[in-house]
């Protein structure tokens, strides 16, 4: 490495650190506020750290804002949805990647085209349809779409990945008499595990953060999801900032934890989706 190169690297490292700290700042602010009293939060000039760390803010917040229940509600929607997405998108991807059949081109084009369909456009008729069958109040409308192909982008990702795997294993298994189902689930699935994990993680984030869906389909407040409940919490009169911050900290912890656990797959997943497209 030349000297100017090294110098450049140090400069870059510094710039990155500065911007990076700026990016981290909101997190810091959120956590720090969650441990202060409301009077301290309103102090101006603002304190950097609380004078006393009020750990009892969290139990208090839980008593007025049952985060755990809301998170369980979110999970009740998220986990089945992840399963649905993984199942139905890999099935469709396998069909496109490995099988030949009439109208294959047509369906593929249509499904990829639907990737560009802005979801917000069809909220009204979809709501109407669910009301007509009497299921518009509850989790069903939020979970079922995951089982209907699990979003075109996931089908696309899976397909691209499948196509990079040589068919030899497939062929061998088929000659041995295996059905396509076995080929997919027993042979190929383990090989595309990175993509599946990435899809799972992204689906988790998608459902955990969704507000518009629960807003339309969930009426009873006991069934609210964590994002929805947080939005309601914030909108009340005389905002109780310390509790809102504490509640927010609790709400973002699961996705962040999930990220740290599955970091590798997250990044891989994004890279795959970006590059293959």
């Amino acid at each position: 490495m030349t000297r100017s190169n090294k110098g450049m690297n140090i400069l870059v490292a510094l710039i990155v650190a500065v911007i990076g700290l700026a990016v981290l700042f909101p997190f810091f602010w959120m956590v720090r506020s969650s441990f202060m009293s409301n009077i301290e939060i309103h102090k101006y000039p603002p304190l950097i750290l609380p004078t006393t760390w009020r750990l009892d803010n969290y139990p208090y917040t839980l008593s007025v804002f049952p985060s755990l229940r809301y998170m369980v509600n979110s999970l009740t929607i998220t986990i089945p949805s992840i399963l649905g997405v993984l199942l139905t998108s890999t099935l469709a991807a396998y069909a496109f990647a490995r099988l030949d059949f009439p109208l294959k081109r047509l369906w593929f084009t249509l499904i990829i085209g639907s990737m560009l369909m802005p979801g917000a456009v069809t909220i009204i008729p979809i709501f109407v349809a669910w009301s007509a069958v009497g299921l518009s109040n509850g989790y069903v409308p939020l979970i079922v779409p995951a089982f209907l192909g699990g979003f075109a982008v996931n089908i696309f990702l899976c397909r691209q990945f499948l196509m990079t795997i040589p068919r030899d294993l497939d062929e061998a298994a088929i000659i041995d008499g295996a059905s396509h189902v076995r080929v997919l689930f027993q042979i190929l699935a383990p090989l595309i595990r990175p993509v599946l994990i990435a899809i799972g993680l992204f689906t988790f984030i998608l459902y955990w953060n969704d507000i518009l869906g629960p807003l339309i389909y969930i009426s009873r407040n006991e069934q609210n999801t964590i994002s929805q409940a947080l939005a309601n919490f914030r909108s009340g009169f005389g905002t109780d900032w310390k509790s809102i911050m504490a509640a927010s900290c609790m709400a973002i912890t699961p996705p962040v934890l999930l990220y740290f656990v599955g970091q590798k797959y997250f990044i891989e997943g994004i890279v795959l989706s970006g590059l293959k497209a």
């Binding site: 450049m8 690297n9 490292a13 990155v16 911007i19 990076g20 981290l24 909101p26 997190f27 602010w29 959120m30 506020s33 309103h42 102090k43 101006y44 000039p45 603002p46 139905t88 099935l91 469709a92 396998y94 069909a95 099988l99 030949d100 059949f101 499904i111 639907s114 560009l116 369909m117 802005p118 979801g119 917000a120 456009v121 069809t122 009204i124 008729p125 979809i126 109407v128 349809a129 779409p145 089982f147 209907l148 192909g149 396509h180 955990w208 507000i211 807003l215 994002s227 939005a231 914030r234 809102i244 927010s248 709400a251 973002i252 990220y259 990044i267 994004i270 890279v271 989706s273 590059l275």
Partner: protein
């Protein structure tokens, strides 16, 4: 080498495809028809619908008070967020592309805001933007500038939301980074051998090679950000004076809060046509400035 197309294969294929095809029809195709159908009525959700033909559309383009404001607000936000986002993400990716210590750590730092639920972002940023107690105004105060009403003033409301949104664009950074790492070293070295410096490498190799990635990010980000909803719903409710009256929020308010399902569906349809047209334009013009390795 194709799999033999047998009747059994076809049956299997269609069996596998059934959920996806059901999704295609029930989530995309039928609802689109539904949007068109409802937009031709004055349905309120409370009484049976009455056919009104193109009445809703006529109203939206002539007398509707909110439509023009909403279009302006949505476009301003989306273009602002996407363009700033691409510049931000590309810059950070360039920086992270160098072998600096702790690169993996910093990459995580820049990515994490993407995972935060937008409501969480809205909450903490709204507190930082708060005009009397917020930390941003405190920083301004330290350099002697008067406090700004970030989320309430006409000039700063949408830019404040844009900054918050760009903060969350962690995935774009990762995509750009991956794209940068895919630029073949041989090309870069060729420029060096020819006597070119960093700027030449950047302009003649990096940028052209990155155009597909930029294209993808631009397109996807536009579609996502045109559909912005949470900041309007949770923070501004369209204030001040309609400057943040984003389209999806307007559709939600008209349809689900004011019982104007017919009108809201008409808005949805117009919105869809606009996005489709925009997508087509982006695709069509992409040939002019995109560069593929094979060419």
């Amino acid at each position: 080498m194709k799999t033999r197309r047998t009747r059994g294969t076809t049956v299997t294929a269609y069996l596998f495809l059934t959920p996806a095809l059901l999704g295609l029809f029930f989530i995309t195709i039928f609802p689109m028809i539904g949007v068109i159908a409802i937009s031709l009525t004055n349905w309120t959700g409370l009484e049976p619908p009455v056919f009104t033909g193109l009445g809703n559309f006529r109203e939206i383009f002539t007398t509707d008070f909110y439509f023009a404001k909403s279009v302006a607000a949505t476009l301003y936000f989306a273009l602002g967020a996407v363009i700033s986002g691409i510049i931000y993400a590309f810059t950070v990716a360039l920086l992270l592309n160098r072998k600096i210590p702790g690169r993996g750590f910093w990459r995580s730092v820049f990515f994490i805001p993407y995972i935060v639920p937008s409501i969480g972002s809205c909450i903490v940023w709204s507190w930082m933007y708060e005009s009397n107690f917020g930390v941003f105004n405190y920083f301004l105060h330290l350099v002697g500038i008067n406090k700004i009403q970030w989320l309430q003033s006409g000039t700063f409301a949408v830019p404040s939301l844009i900054v918050m949104t760009v903060w969350g664009m962690g995935s774009m950074i990762v995509i750009f980074l991956a794209g940068l790492q895919n630029v073949p070293r041989t090309y870069l070295e060729a420029v060096e051998i020819d006597g070119g410096n960093t700027w030449h490498k950047f302009r003649h190799i990096t940028i052209p090679m990155m155009t597909p990635v930029i294209f993808y990010n631009f397109l996807m980000s536009m579609i996502t950000n045109l559909q912005v909803f949470v900041p309007a719903y949770a923070l501004t409710k369209g204030e001040p004076s309609g400057r943040s009256l984003f389209m999806v929020f307007l559709i939600y308010r008209e349809g689900f809060m004011q019982n104007n399902f017919g009108h809201a569906s008409a808005l949805s349809l117009i919105f869809f046509i606009f996005i489709a047209a925009l997508t087509a334009v982006i695709f069509a013009t992409s040939k002019k400035w995109m560069f593929y390795e094979g060419e």
